[in-house]
Subunit: 419 residues, 2 copies
């Protein structure tokens, strides 16, 4: 990292999410927070999401004028949300006498691959931001959006402001990428559902990515990937106070790593079953090729040797992809691949995440035993290097999460650890 | 005008104001209107304002985070309103299978002089718009905004979308600049206050400019100036139906011109009096120089020879400038120019407008006589080539407007004219 030209100290990037900028009062609170901490963050870049409900309202308007709002105009529409919040924070800081400038993605050179609605950041020309920092200004940047080669606005998809923050931190060689949110950091389970959930002081990038991919609302997994690649430490912390939250960094620099870092639940999944699939080669290949070509991510494939289930292909996918999969199923019916499909959306996924999971097979067995003791049926299991996931009945998810969490983080021990 | 490269026919620019885009339903109605008329307007550029209440809401948010929101960030904030409407109309047209593209001021090269909040359009690079028209698309442009040399958004002030429409029509050599609004065209008085108001088939640019400057909500006077300079006819018409409204064009092409085209009222004024101004040379000069330097437009100066008012300087200004004038008055008090000021905001202005007014002195006298017959006191009079304005009590404004209108447009005659 080269030394900054103007003010001293490394660049800090702070990202504030939708609940942190939900009202004018909350934006004033962020201005307070920045003002109180200005000595410690003299070179500060702030990335903002849209106000809490704005994106939903804009999507609602779009659905009133179009059956399938998408593409270029949808991105232009959605990008207004962050323009509003960055302008307001700029006005709030300026009225306190703090030099500040709010920049759109175009003004700070965030270039994307140009795919509307789900663009990826390709490059950032940091000249303007560096110049503004050198001039002593707090730089406020619209999250969630970039510009393609035609200067059209392209958005990064839900949670995209995390990616903007991470990409800016990487491009600026920042000392830290702070994800300021409505919880105190990264917990061993969702603290609003599991009261005994433990707040971590630090976890590894890989663990954060696995947790986020398993349904934990930590940060966007691509944001963690970007910071891992550029070795920028992430600090997930509360936007309501200045206490330290959870640091996410390279595994090598973490002294003592837990076997299991989180128990996560995800109810936004559905089970999709194709009936009467002929026992011919190429049938499954066609199904999964079609799904991939349609941009539909399959989370799990359930294979069963039981004769009762012969001729079936079952897979788990996110609820949002069900409509697309149903459309494909109609083409498979027409093509003789299946006689029809069954969708069950009363399923959920419970996962344990930890970087030493694969090396410690006993951990997965403990999870299965806890579920078995409670009579919670496991529909299917998927395991990877750092994760074991079970599909269960959605209505047992909260109970299962609490029980599995208690197995790995007994209340007594947790109390001792946090004492 | 050169022949268009792609589709045939001249370019038409249509501007829709805040009430015409107030809701998703209204935007769908505009999409309907465009669809039904597409054969007659194959090369169509649509300029939109923000949704009715959006600008006020954004200003409200800004005042919650800053005592005096202004400047660069304010313009970035306000410019989101038009981005929302152009995106929504783009989605609405696309969902009907009509090729359409929505462009921001930056994307269609509207450059300004760079003064935030009250910028003036300096140039328009029409290459992108022409290319989109050639490709057969309806082009939808954000009104009210331009871009300065630093690519910062600069807004044109209230009513600025009219100016955008006029400037685009001029730059594109359009066949017409249509101002689509919530009334049927230009009337001889505000039809919501004067039931017998007459709808004109055509008036001159100069008359439109004088009317707009006298408080009539026709269109922004600068928009009419731009169209006059580039000889683009303006068509003020309803956005609710397709009937012909009022054409505004060069006086030379208008067959028969009325002596008086409008009676207009304006209650948004105040009377400002400085007391005990020493009878020394240079005092009045200082006052009006300071006002001009502060960007405060003085509408009328009242000079009185009466001894009771000696040592007073009285002028009429728009209500919005009262706070600024009060601030200046404090500096004049400190400098010995005055002992203090009195502000009266219970005054209003009634005007008659017509291009043959100066050549027909009897017309002004008829106005004064009508007011005198009703015992309405005239505080002061201002007259110009095309306008006679009287300052009266605000509470008599509606009565005065109706009476003066009846004098020049008797109900019987109007009925005959429209029959």
């Amino acid at each position: 990292m080269t030394a900054p030209a103007g003010r001293e100290g490394p660049v800090v990037v702070q990202k504030y999410g939708g609940t942190s900028v939900a009202t004018a009062e909350r934006i004033l609170a962020i201005a307070d927070r920045i003002e109180r901490n200005l000595d410690r963050t003299p070179r500060l870049v702030v990335v903002l999401s849209a106000m809490g409900s704005t994106t939903d309202e804009l999507v609602g308007l779009a659905h009133q004028v179009s059956d399938r709002p998408a593409g270029r105009e949808m991105d232009l529409l959605l990008s207004t949300g962050e323009q509003v919040t960055v302008s307001l924070l700029g006005l709030a800081l300026q009225s306190r006498g703090i030099p500040a400038i709010s920049l759109t993605a175009l003004q700070c050179g965030i270039r994307t691959d140009g795919v509307f609605n789900v663009a990826r950041i390709r490059s950032i020309d940091t000249a303007r931001i560096r110049a503004e920092l050198d001039a002593g200004r707090v730089v406020i940047v619209t999250g969630f959006q970039g510009i393609n080669d035609a200067d059209d606005v392209t958005t990064l998809g839900r949670g995209g402001s995390d990616i903007t923050g991470a990409a800016l931190a990487a491009a600026l060689g920042a000392g830290a990428c702070e994800i300021c949110t409505d919880v105190d950091g990264v917990f061993s389970a969702d603290p609003s559902r599991v009261p005994g959930a433990r707040l971590w002081a630090e976890i590894s990038y890989e663990e954060a990515i696995e947790m986020a991919s398993s349904g934990a609302k930590v940060l966007h997994p691509r944001a963690a990937e970007v910071c891992m690649e550029y070795d920028v430490p992430i600090h997930v912390r509360s936007s309501f106070h200045l206490r330290v939250g959870t640091w996410i960094r390279g595994a090598a620099s973490i002294m003592e790593r837990a076997e299991v870092v989180a128990v996560t639940g995800d109810a936004k999944i559905a089970k999709f079953t194709l009936l009467d699939v002929p026992d011919e080669p190429g049938m499954a290949a066609r199904v999964f090729q079609d799904l991939a070509a349609g941009g539909i991510n399959v989370r799990l494939i359930i294979q069963s040797a039981s004769s009762a289930h012969q001729g079936r292909i079952t897979f788990i996918l996110d609820k949002e992809f069900v409509a697309g999969a149903r459309e494909l199923a109609r083409s498979w019916e027409a093509g003789g691949v299946t006689s029809g499909c069954v969708v069950e959306d009363d399923v959920a996924k419970i996962s344990i995440v930890g970087s030493r999971l694969a090396a410690t097979p006993g951990l997965a067995a403990r999870m299965f035993a806890v579920l078995a003791r409670r009579g919670i049926n496991i529909d299917c299991i998927s395991s990877s290097e750092m994760k074991v996931a079970c599909v269960i009945s959605a209505e047992r998810l909260d109970e299962a999460t609490a029980a599995v969490h208690e197995e790995f983080f007994p209340a007594k021990e947790t109390a001792a650890a946090t004492a």
